[in-house]
Structures are given as C-alpha cells and as structure tokens.
Amino acid sequence: MSGVPSPAFRIGQPVRVRAADPPYHTRVPRYVRGHTGQVRAVQPVCELPDDVARRRSPVRRLPVYSVAFAASGLWDGTPSDTDHEVVCDLWECYLDAAGPGGATDQEERPR
C-alpha cells in the first residue's frame, strides 16, 4: 500500500523524545520526555492513540519504535539501583533524531 509511511529512524539510531506535555491523551510516559535513547526495534505501523482519543479523522497510522534508555539518565539513585535499561515503545511523531554522538542523556529530568 502506498499510504503506509516508511520508518524515519533506523535500528541503532539515537532519538530524543519530545518534551511537550500535550493537553490530550498520549502514550508518551512522562519519565522519558526530553530524554535520548537508542532505537532497538522498528515495529509495524499502527493507529496513533492521540488521534483516536481526539476523534481526529483520518487517524494517522505511524511506525512505532522500541527505544532503549539507560536508567542512570532517567532516575536518581545508587549506581546499583540504576544500572538497568528501560525500553519503551514510542510512535514516530513522539521522536526527533538526536545528534550522532547520542547525547548521553544529561538533559533535564522530568520533575
């Protein structure tokens, strides 16, 4: 189908989650907003819940990415508490390309 968008990001690419806090339903967890992660997997396109919740028509169908974040950039805590990785699934419009250096997530923490 020609209407299916091809993915804008590739596996391994650093991406930054948009920090905006929209006044409508969205599926961006607050704890990753503004943070940079790395694309681990590209999933099939599916309906954007933000559009569904706002009764927009047509509802956009966009690629979804599994994006991995180093917990040490997301949370305060002892090194042994935050040596893990958190992977979130995020629709393409929630993300922007980040610098090739992958700016290691020293941005502002949410709250």
Binding site: V28, Y31, C88
Partner: protein, 195 residues
C-alpha cells in the same frame, strides 16, 4: 464474567453496562460472548508455558518465536487471538541479560498467553518501581538477579505485548516437552521469577 463473583457490585455494573450497550445497538450478546470466549476463557499461562517448553526443545521454533512471534503463535495453534493492532514480542533471558515486563501507562499484558494479570501487575507500586529499581523489586519477589547479569525492563506503551522466554533450568536435560511445561510459571513469563 467468570460466574464466580456475580454478586459483586462491579459485576452488577458490568451487567448494566452490557445491557445499555446491547440496547443501543452497539454490540450484540453474541459478540460479547465471542470476545469472552476468545480473550478470557482461553487465556491461561499454560499457553505461554507451551510456547516456552517448545522453544527449549526445538531450536527452529525458538528462533521463530524470537523473530516473528505471530507466526510462531500460528504454528502453535494459538493464532488469531490478539486484538487487531496488537502483536506479540518475545524477549529472551540469556546468561548476560534478564528481562522483565511492565505497562507503566495501564496494565497491558499478553492476556492470552499469561492468563488474567495478577493484581500486583496492575498496582501503582509495581508499575512505578520496576522501571526505577527493578533489582530491588525482583528481590522482593524472591529473585536476586546476580550483579553480573544486566536487567532490561520492557514498558509496553504501544501495541506490542511482551512475554519473557526464561532460561531452561539446569539439570532438566532428561525432561520431555510436556514435563518442561510444568516448570514454567506466570511470574517467569513476566520476568519477576527466573522461570
């Protein structure tokens, strides 16, 4: 509903809601029954355990399960039971990495393969803490992940539903596929236990 708690207030509310939806012509009783049959009565962690035991004994199936879980479900006779945009992803525990699943936004979960979710999976405490301090949370479940094993937390924020493929326990080489199924627990499929 399960038929076991029909006198609970929530059951009465559900019945009233069902009646309103049917009266409004939005659904039929037959459609509701079909959904319940498919998504609740057939949903059991035994389905997940079947997939795991087969993956432990059949390297080709294991590769397919990790690469294209939807196709693996078809092969295992469990196809066609996910919602339209939902798809299954299986993440494998290895000697170096332990996986654990959560949905911080609500309680998304591969119901068909794991059965109804445990109440703690839906609790604010689990959802908030497992992304912050998974080693501490897992330790409270009785599983102390070795320091040299990395922990990866999968937050099911879109339409993928995650299941963990645990490591086959040592000393089980003599067991056949059916016996191996009995070793797999729902907690192992979520990642709050080693198997």
């Amino acid at each position: 509903m399960s038929g076991e708690h029909t006198d609970l207030p929530v059951a009465a509310r559900v019945r009233r809601l069902e009646a309103r939806l049917v009266a409004a012509g939005l659904v039929t009783d037959e459609q509701l029954d079909a959904v319940l049959e498919q998504r609740l009565y057939r949903a059991t962690p035994f389905n997940g355990a079947r997939l795991v035991a087969r993956a432990w004994t059949d390297p080709g199936f294991r590769a397919l399960l990790l690469d294209d879980a939807g196709e693996a479900l078809e092969q295992a006779g469990l196809g066609g039971l996910l919602a339209p945009d939902e798809h299954l992803r299986v993440v494998e525990n290895t000697a170096g990495t332990h996986n654990v699943v959560v949905c911080t936004l609500c309680s998304c979960y591969p119901l068909l393969l794991l059965g109804p979710s445990p109440s703690w999976y839906r609790s604010d405490a689990y959802r908030a803490r497992v992304v912050r301090e998974p080693r501490a949370v897992l330790a409270e479940f009785g599983y102390r992940v070795p320091d040299e094993v990395a922990v990866r937390v999968w937050d099911a924020t879109a339409e993928a539903r995650y299941m963990v493929l645990p490591r086959r326990p040592a000393g089980t080489g003599h067991l056949d596929e059916e016996a191996l199924r009995g070793l797999v627990t729902r907690s192992g499929l979520i990642g709050t236990a080693p198997v």
